[in-house]
């Protein structure tokens, strides 16, 4: 099995060796880099093809109906047909839209998606750029999408996209804070920002067992970051028509679709890397484990999209600032306490202490929530 | 049931000329100018708090506006008020201040029948567009409407 495990890693070394024979070293490295970039882009396109088809089939099954099954066997080629159609679709730039911003937005929305792909550890040794500031890099790049979507909302000079753009600003900046705070717990345990070392830190026990609450906060704010499921206010179909991409057609809309779906997959992949131990797994080759975990979390994303209604904008903001941020802070401090107390004593006390700590936090939250509800009910009765 | 209400109304408003019309649904015919007083009396004193329907009818000699009133507390049986207005310049006092529910219905009667309602907050057309000439539900209005020249003619 070892050969199968690092299939791609050996492949890249062999190509590098083959090139190095007749090219100077720097040229070989350059070509290797270009090859990895090409491989990343192809991976992104294949993922979106697969995700789009999977999403429509799975949500179809939730709704008791078949998804697309006429295009190619089992409907696999559905997104290829969509791509061809969107490729040959006319592109309209509204007259009174701001031309430059309107056309810049779709380009800007795709750039962060590809940049984040570089840092994801697909398998042992299979990471395009193992930065030692991996997670900080992801947070920095992912806030670029906020600007791109705001440009789209403001640029197309349409009332609905303006509302969508304003909502995206409010939502994404509010959910970045709890996302980062909850991820800090993980970084504290591994002592390094690089995703590869985070995954190696989880060889004995995945962090979800140590920090279930941290995972929950991270997952909720990651969904909100990517405008999916209960937090898809920026393109709320029933309220503001199609939100920020109301005026986009043809290839520009395809860019938004590409960015949206791949961002969703990336968020699922990062959640898998941070909390479920990316490619750590008993028998299967590492990259298979990575995709299994990523698609398991992506299934939960689809599940939410199929069932839950949407939050209103002020409830959304209230949830972020009044519930998630304080909870994330408390979780961070308690994790710090637990980490120092069980510093040298090995694995078992650490797991035990963190589970007890999490239980305490959840109990505290439930008590405060019940107290708040009772007080609110008294206020109502009095009013 | 509406017979006793009619008696009480006659005592209350001796000088107005009220008539009791027999028929499947007995109705009370009221003059246009004292409609508002009678309506307020019915609403406050007699407890008719629910105005179900406002209808305009185009009779050969007059326009008629029919109000169906119910009281939610007591019992069944509509109390029907019939108000007639002149053919040339139909004008009836509006009851929106008593029952806000009549707002859209009166606008619709104005829009389709052409009966103006004095005192209505914003009497505009509700079903047809603003610049439309003519009131379709009048008997002299052809059902196909006025054919506009150009595209309409061909089809």
């Amino acid at each position: 099995m070892p050969f199968l495990n690092d299939l791609f890693v050996n492949l890249s070394y062999w190509i590098h060796g083959f090139l190095a024979r007749f090219l100077p070293l720097w040229a070989a490295d350059l070509i290797m880099m270009l090859l990895t970039i090409a491989c990343l882009i192809v991976f992104a396109l294949i993922t979106i093809m697969f995700i789009n088809w999977l999403e429509r089939k799975v949500i179809g099954r939730f709704q008791d109906r078949y998804g697309p099954n006429r295009v190619g066997p089992l409907g696999i080629l559905q997104f290829v047909a969509d791509a061809i159609k969107m490729f040959t679709k006319e592109d309209i730039t509204p007259a009174n839209a701001d031309r430059v911003i309107f056309n810049l937005a779709p380009v800007m929305v795709v750039v962060p998606t590809f940049l984040i792909l570089a840092v994801l550890p697909f398998g042992r040794g299979m990471v395009a750029a193992d930065l030692n500031i991996g997670f900080l890099y992801i947070v920095a790049i992912s806030s670029l999408t906020t600007i791109a979507i705001l440009l789209a909302g403001w640029g197309s000079r349409n009332k609905y996209s303006l509302l969508g753009g304003m909502r995206v600003v409010a939502q994404m900046i509010s959910y970045e804070v709890p996302m980062v705070l909850s991820a800090l717990g993980v970084i504290m345990l591994t002592g390094s920002l690089s995703l590869v070392s985070i995954v190696e830190g989880q060889s004995r026990v995945p962090f979800i067992l140590l920090q279930p609450l941290g995972f929950l906060i991270y997952f909720i704010s990651a969904i909100a970051e990517v405008n999916r499921a209960p937090f898809d206010l920026p393109e709320a179909e029933s309220e503001i028509i199609a939100g920020y991409h109301t005026e986009y057609s043809g290839m520009k809309y395809a860019m938004f679709l590409l960015a949206e779906y791949i961002n969703a997959f990336i968020v699922a992949a990062i959640a898998a890397t941070l909390f479920l131990g990316g490619w750590q797994g008993p028998s299967l080759p590492p990259y298979v484990w990575f995709f299994l975990k990523a698609y398991a979390i992506y299934f939960v994303l689809m599940w939410l999209r199929g069932t839950l209604p949407r939050l209103r904008i002020d409830q959304l903001m209230g949830l972020a600032w009044k519930f998630l941020v304080p909870l994330a802070l408390v979780n961070l401090l308690v994790m710090g306490l637990v980490a120092t107390l069980t510093q040298g004593k090995g694995l078992f006390p650490l797991v035990l202490a963190s589970l007890v700590a999490n239980g305490l936090i959840v109990a505290a939250v439930v008590i405060i929530y019940a107290f708040a509800m009772r007080r609110r009910r008294q206020v109502e009765v009095a009013a | 049931m509406s017979r006793e209400v009619y008696e009480r109304l006659v005592e209350e408003f001796p000088e107005t000329s009220l008539e009791y019309l027999e028929g499947k649904d007995p109705a009370i015919s009221v003059k246009a100018d004292d409609l508002f007083e009678v309506a307020r009396h019915l609403k406050e004193k007699q407890g008719y708090d629910y105005l179900s329907a406002v209808t305009g009818v185009d009779y050969p000699d007059r326009f008629e506006v029919i109000y169906h009133l119910y009281s939610m507390k007591e019992g069944p049986g509509p109390l029907i008020l019939k108000v007639s207005a002149s053919k040339e310049e139909p004008e009836v006092p509006s009851l929106v201040s008593l029952w806000p529910g009549a707002n859209f219905q009166e606008r619709e009667v104005y829009d389709l029948m052409g009966i103006r309602f004095a005192g209505h907050p914003d009497l505009k057309r509700i079903l047809l567009w603003e610049g439309y000439e003519g009131h379709p539900l009048r008997k002299d209005f052809p059902i196909e409407g006025y054919q506009t020249i150009g595209q309409e003619e061909s089809s």
Binding site: R56, G60, Q63, D64, R65, Y66, G67, P68, N69, R70, V71, G75, L77, Q78, V80, A81, D82, A83, I84, K85, F87, T88, K89, E90, D91, I92, E237, I241, A242, H245, T246, E247, Y248, S249, G250, Y253 | L127, L128, W129, G131, Y132, E133, G134, P136, F141, P142, I143, E144, G145, Y146, Q147, T148, I149, G150, Q151, E152, S154, S155
Partner: protein, 192 residues
């Protein structure tokens, strides 16, 4: 140019075009996105066609886009009244180019049971070029699916060379009628 040379020359030119045409049309046929836009009772039958029993998501038409900008097919489902006609034509104009119109139900085809009344347009084809007519009042979801299949066959029959949206001189912009004092008036010859 005798008959054989003409055909030979056609065949030579067509081989490249047909393969591109095939892919081009296959792509467009299998991802026609209808616009989420319903007028009257036929709209409800369209929703039933999208529901679980007669699901037209199987043909890849699942993305009912609310905006005309991302839609390919305008399903005029229901009675087109004179007050609504300018909006329907404006929505058609705002759709990007390879666009199709499906007139669903007797009202959209010819005014249906409400034909020749003061506020109903006798059929949408007075204002829009209609590609597929689906009769019925309302047509059953199966009839609508048959209409979609006819549309797919029509799309497959088109070629890049002859399709109207690639040719310069074809005018694809429909004039938006204006609500005049007595009814709809085309901007060109509004006499009133």
């Amino acid at each position: 140019m005798t008959e054989e040379e003409h055909i030979a020359e056609q065949i030579r030119r067509n081989i490249i075009i047909t393969t591109i045409d095939k892919i081009y049309n296959w792509g467009r046929r299998s991802s026609v996105w209808p616009m989420g836009f319903g007028l009257a009772c036929c709209a409800f039958e369209m929703i039933c066609a999208a529901a679980s029993r007669f699901d037209f998501a199987r043909f890849g038409m699942e993305m009912m886009r609310p905006t005309p900008r991302q839609a390919d097919l305008l399903i005029v489902s229901g009675t087109v009244t004179k007050k609504m006609a300018p909006q329907v034509v404006r929505l058609y104009d705002q759709m990007p180019e390879p666009k199709y119109v499906l007139a669903m139900g007797a009202c959209a085809i010819s005014g249906g049971p409400f034909k020749d009344t003061y506020n109903v347009v006798n059929g949408i084809d007075t204002y829009l070029p209609v590609d597929v007519y689906v009769p019925g009042c309302p047509p059953r979801p199966e009839a609508l699916l048959e209409g979609f299949i006819k549309l797919h066959q029509m799309i497959e029959g088109q070629t890049i060379l002859t399709s109207p949206w690639y040719r310069k001189e074809v005018e694809r912009e429909m004039p938006v009628p204006i609500l005049g004092p007595r009814g709809l008036v085309l901007p060109g010859e509004g006499h009133e």
